[in-house]
């Protein structure tokens, strides 16, 4: 660890010491630090006396970060147009030239100049993932000819190419980029990308559309989109940003639902163990159908598809929280929370004689370890939990 980071490490250890979650090794590091200077212990004592901290806490409350940010934004991000106007066309001109030279229609700019997406798709607990990988769950790419390729341990910063699909791992994020093979392979074949529990991937389709795949999901897609429509199949959950093509609608099929769009952003949840397929629209307009009836939904609406289609207004942040590395619960009951935890931490959650009642509201980073999440539920609700191997038992709190 770089020397500059030592104060950050020590701060983290102090916070852990205050919340009594230090491991023996961490305690040793902290003790060593305390021993190097008498003032260090005084500092630690200060944090233990909340009354003495009042002036500092008041100082923090007195600052208006929002106002300050408005000032800074005007001098930084909001004054950026001259720079970005100049940079973008250049990047695109370069991309166009490259595409022309190579004679292929991959949007090279996506590779060379990845969008600074406002939210990064993957933000996950590394250790959990490692744990899971040794398990049954592996990154799997099933090719059209039936071969299955297990992609273990892709090193960070590397690109692999298999059958025209570039697999790129950068900053812990895995992106599959599918080249457009319309010319070289006129006959369309289908591939499937499967995400294991505890992982999220991004797929860039031949038309430039992007799909973020949540944990325990699969996307079946063609090697090219030569026909009148662009069709894919989803199991599990995905967030779609579809490139607009007026003459070529994009179709997503997921269990009982078909969604038809021209160009838009939406989230689709179709896990087999959820009672309904839920489509949440962020931008544009989509048509949702279950084979019998169909409905158009507007941004901010969610379509609940069973035998019927029910529309409701929802918090879209909640629907796409997973894409931003968060769990987002809004008045959720324990069973709903349990299903989400099972899909991310690869655990089986069962309940004792009765499911503890109550509803929970809040946001938690998906990087939080599961024990911590369960502790929060325990403290907030009237429940107890037990963890044994990969099984979690949740029961109502005993009286007394």
């Amino acid at each position: 660890m770089a020397e500059n980071y030592i104060p950050f490490l020590i701060s983290e250890l102090i916070l852990k010491s205050l919340s009594q979650t230090l491991t023996p090794q961490e305690q040793e590091i902290l003790d060593n630090w305390l021993a190097t200077d008498a003032q260090n212990s005084e500092l630690l004592d200060l944090f233990r006396q909340e009354q003495r901290l009042e002036p500092e806490l008041t100082f923090f409350s007195s600052l208006n970060t929002e106002n300050a940010w408005q000032k800074i934004a005007a001098k930084t991000v909001n004054s950026a147009p001259p720079v970005s106007l100049w940079q973008k066309p250049l990047a695109w001109r370069f991309a166009a030239a490259v595409a022309l030279l190579m004679g292929i229609a991959i949007v090279f700019a996506l590779v060379k100049f990845p969008d600074k997406a406002p939210a990064i798709a993957v933000n996950k607990p590394k250790e959990v993932r490692k744990e899971v990988k040794t398990d049954i769950n592996q990154v799997k790419l099933s090719l059209a000819d039936g071969t299955e390729i297990l992609l273990n341990d892709i090193a960070d910063g590397t690109v692999q190419e298999i059958n025209g699909i570039k697999i790129e791992k950068k900053d812990g994020q895995v992106i599959f980029r599918v080249a457009d093979n319309t010319v070289s392979q006129p006959k369309v074949a289908y591939n499937i990308i499967t995400t294991p529990i505890g992982e999220q991937y991004q797929v860039v389709l031949p038309d430039g559309s992007k799909v973020w795949l949540n944990s325990a999901s699969a996307l079946r897609f063609p090697t090219a989109f030569p026909g009148h429509e662009r069709a894919v199949t989803l199991t599990g959950e995905g967030y779609f940003e579809i490139t607009k093509k007026k003459d070529q609608p994009f179709l997503v099929t997921a269990s009982n639902t078909t969604i038809e769009v021209l160009g838009t952003h939406f989230n689709l949840m179709a896990y087999p163990n959820e009672s309904a397929t839920k489509t949440t629209l962020l931008e544009g307009s989509v048509k949702v159908s279950n084979g019998k009836v169909s409905e158009f939904i507007k941004p901010g609406q969610q379509a609940n598809v069973t035998d019927a289609i029910k529309l409701s207004a929802v918090d879209v942040d909640e629907a796409i929280a997973w894409k931003n590395g968060l769990f987002h619960f809004n008045d959720a009951d324990l069973k709903t929370i349990a299903r989400q935890l099972e899909r991310w931490y690869n655990v089986d959650i069962s309940f004792g004689d009765e499911v503890p009642g109550g509803h929970f509201t809040g946001i938690i980073s998906r990087r939080t370890d599961i024990e911590q999440v369960l502790k929060m539920l325990q403290v907030s609700g009237n429940l107890d939990y037990k963890i044994k191997e990969r099984r979690v038992l949740i029961s109502a709190k005993k009286k007394g």
Binding site: N4, P7, T21, F47, L53, D369, E371, Q372
Partner: protein
């Protein structure tokens, strides 16, 4: 405790890998950096100016700055430190501190301590802010204003027992919330 009981526990001593936008960086680090500078120069407005300048400087030079949130945080601290020390040097030149001529610029060790203080207090502040409203009020009255359970109960018109249970809950929640990995939390528990 058997080995199995431990299987789901992980070491969480790593920072976010996610690259933050300038706005997120600003909102995450602004108050702690102002506090850090304030500890050195004892002038709140000047401290705010210094920190804002540091963010602008970072933004314009970001292509040459190491990426990664730790590295950026470290860069910001060091920019704020240098600017604050410059203010102090300038004050010395102006001989504002005639009567404290023996006063020397803070050394590296005390600067590290001030950084740690800024880091820890900012997390504590955040943890208290995220407590449910009821707990927060009781926490403030109890820990910060030094009132006893009876006084708190009278002020809020609730029973002493409720104060006790709420205090207990606040403490537990506070402990959990102090984990820097957790930045959003259960805001409340609604009886269903």
């Amino acid at each position: 405790m058997s080995e199995n009981d431990n299987i789901l526990k992980q070491d969480s001593s790593i920072s976010f890998n996610q690259e933050l936008s300038l706005e997120q960086l600003f909102k995450e680090y602004y108050t702690r950096l102002v506090y850090f500078s304030f500890q050195l120069i004892k002038d709140k407005d000047a401290a705010e100016d210094i920190v804002q300048e540091a963010f602008i400087k970072y933004w314009h030079g970001r292509e040459d700055t190491e990426t990664g949130n730790q590295a950026i945080k470290s860069y910001l601290y060091s920019a704020v430190k240098n600017a604050s020390l410059n203010v102090l040097r300038h004050q010395k030149v102006e001989e504002k501190y005639k009567d404290t001529l023996e006063r020397t610029l803070p050394g590296e060790t005390s600067i590290l301590q001030l950084m740690i203080r800024a880091e820890v207090v900012s997390e504590l502040h955040r943890a208290i802010q995220t407590l449910p409203a009821g707990c927060q009020q009781i926490s403030r009255l109890g820990y910060l204003e030094g009132k006893n359970n009876q006084e708190i109960a009278e002020e809020l018109g609730i029973s002493v027992n409720t104060v006790k249970t709420q205090k207990q809950r606040s403490l537990q929640l506070l402990r959990l919330r102090l984990n820097p990995e957790i930045f959003g939390l259960f805001l409340g528990f609604l009886l269903g």
